[in-house]
Structures are given as C-alpha cells and as structure tokens.
C-alpha cells in the first residue's frame, strides 16, 4: 500500500489552488528584472550562464583532478610520515647493534683453552686431581 492510493490524482486536482492563485504565484516568483523586458532579462541570464560554462570548459581536463589534489596531498603526507617512522626505527636498531658490538666481548673468537702459564681457578676434587696429574 502506498501513498498513491491515499491521495488520488483526481483529489489532487480538485484540491488545487486554482488558476488565479497559480497566476499570482507565477507573478510573485517571476524575476523582478523580467517584468518590463522579459526577453532582455532571459537573454542576459543565458549569457551569464554560458560565460560560467565557457569558463568551466576552459579549465580543461586537469580541472577534474583538482578535487583529488587534497586527497593526493593527504596520501603523500601519510606515506612520508610512515617512511619517517620506518626510517627512525631502522636507525634505532642499527644504533643498538653498534652499541652492543662495542660493549660486549667478541664471543665468536673466545676459547676455553687456558693461556700458557696462566693460573686457572678451579674448585672441587676433580680440579685438584687435574692439577696433580698435569704436574
């Protein structure tokens, strides 16, 4: 069920304000400048419209891109910011690695073999036995 059935066309017309009111509305909403010289007014409006249309046409195809310019700028700024964050994090990791390289012993070249003549501190029976057997 739609409104179509609630307000049939015949009723619409019967309810119409009538020709005198319609004429008054037309007059009330007519352009004030058109009263004396209607043709001049409408020709003038057409000229103004076409001037704007021509200006629009002269902007060329790239004018279509103007609305996208802001989107493009925002996207570029976002990419730039993201690249900055990534670069910053990579730099921090490199700094950390350099710091650790300087401050920690080089475990890859370390050996368990005692250097000749060096006292090796040990403890317990196994260490004492090892000492006597070696001397």
């Amino acid at each position: 069920m739609t409104d179509e059935l609630k307000f049939p066309d015949a009723g619409d017309r019967a309810d119409s304000p009538g020709e005198p009111v319609v004429t008054l509305i037309r007059e009330a909403y007519a352009p004030p400048d058109a009263a004396a010289w209607p043709d001049v007014y409408w020709a003038g409006l057409e000229t103004r419209i076409m001037a704007r249309v021509s200006a629009e046409a002269e902007k060329g195809w790239w004018a279509e891109l103007v609305p996208w310019a802001r989107v493009g700028l925002v996207a570029a700024a976002a990419i730039f910011a993201f690249a900055g964050v990534v670069n910053n994090q990579l730099g921090a990791a490199e700094d950390q690695m350099a710091y650790e390289a300087v401050n920690q012993p080089d475990l890859t070249t370390a050996s368990d073999e005692p250097i000749a003549g060096q006292y090796v501190s040990t403890s317990g029976d196994a260490a004492a036995l090892s000492y006597y057997l070696s001397n």
Binding site: E4, F7, V21, I25, L45, I49, V53, A57
Partner: protein, 178 residues
C-alpha cells in the same frame, strides 16, 4: 518550442562538447529552472545563483546524462539540489519582512499587488520542500514522481507534502477567502 527529438539532439550534441547546443538547452529550460530554484530559496538573487550553479553542474555532468531520457527533469533535479544547498547556507536569513507582510492588516483585497505579496509571504511561511512541491506541481505541472526525484524523496512523500502544504497555505490565507 522544440520537440523532444530536437531537445534530445541538442543534449547529444552538448554531450559531444558543442557549447552552442548547451546554450540551446539553457534557452529552453532556464525559465522553469528559475521557478524551481525560486520556489526553494524564495529570494531572486539566490534563485539566479542556483540556476547558474545548476547549469554549470549539469555541464560538468553531461557525460553521465542518459540521452534517452528527458533533459528537463534531470536538469531540474540538479538545480533543485543547488537551491537546497544555498537554502541550507542561508538558513539564518531573516524572514521577518515576509512574516510582517503576511500579518499586516489587509487594506484592500482587490489590489492585485497586495494579493501577490500576501501569497508570497504565505509561501515563505512554508518549509522549503512544501513550497517547492506546491510550485512544482500546481504551477509547473510536474508529476509527483518527478518532484520526488528532484527533491530526493519518494513520489508518495511529494504527494503527501503537497496535501499538507496546500492545507497550510489555505490556513494562512484564510482571511482572503472569508
């Protein structure tokens, strides 16, 4: 007066970039477009702005216009949207002047100009949509479906709006009928 076929030919040529053809469409439709805009914004200068803006938007969108359809309703929808945009921006515009005209003592009902002013003031009391529906239907003869399409509401809503707008207008002009 042009036939629908001639109008269609103009629309096709305008779509192909012919500005003279678009000027032909402007010539054909500007009066009706003005009334549509004026019924929404009520002020002449705003109506002119809406008509110009509407035609420019139509020109920008002409590639999307289906030339198997009538140009008028498509254009008027765009003009109505432009007028509604202006009306939203002008929401704060004072209508005191018109309201005063509506309530002023009725000196001489026989005076045509005064009747016209009273009617304009009464129309200004209606909402934008109600006023537009009355003018589009009763003055311009658009169907409910066309009006609904132009104002972005279902045809049934336009019909219902018309009913209520006429009722309100009758109430506002009651003293003229007595």
């Amino acid at each position: 007066m042009r036939t629908p076929d001639e109008e269609r030919a103009l629309a096709k040529a305008a779509r192909a970039g012919d500005q003279d053809a678009f000027a032909g469409l402007v010539r054909l439709h500007q009066r009706r477009a003005y009334l549509v805009a004026r019924s929404i914004v009520t002020v002449h200068e705003d109506a002119e702005d809406a008509v110009q803006e509407g035609f420019v938007r139509a020109y920008q969108a002409i590639q999307r216009f289906d030339t198997s359809q009538n140009f008028g309703p498509w254009l008027n929808r765009i003009v109505a949207n432009a007028a509604l945009d202006i009306a939203r921006r002008r929401k704060v515009r004072s209508t005191e002047e018109l309201t005063d005209a509506l309530r002023s003592p009725f000196r001489d009902p026989g005076e045509h100009a005064e009747l016209r002013e009273r009617l304009a003031a009464a129309l200004a009391e209606l909402s934008e949509r109600a006023r537009a529906v009355i003018v589009m239907h009763d003055v311009e003869g658009f169907t409910h479906a066309e009006i609904g399409e132009m104002l972005g509401v279902p045809g049934g809503t336009a019909r219902s709006d018309l009913h209520h707008a006429r009722k309100k207008l009758r109430e506002l002009l009651q003293d003229l009928r007595d």
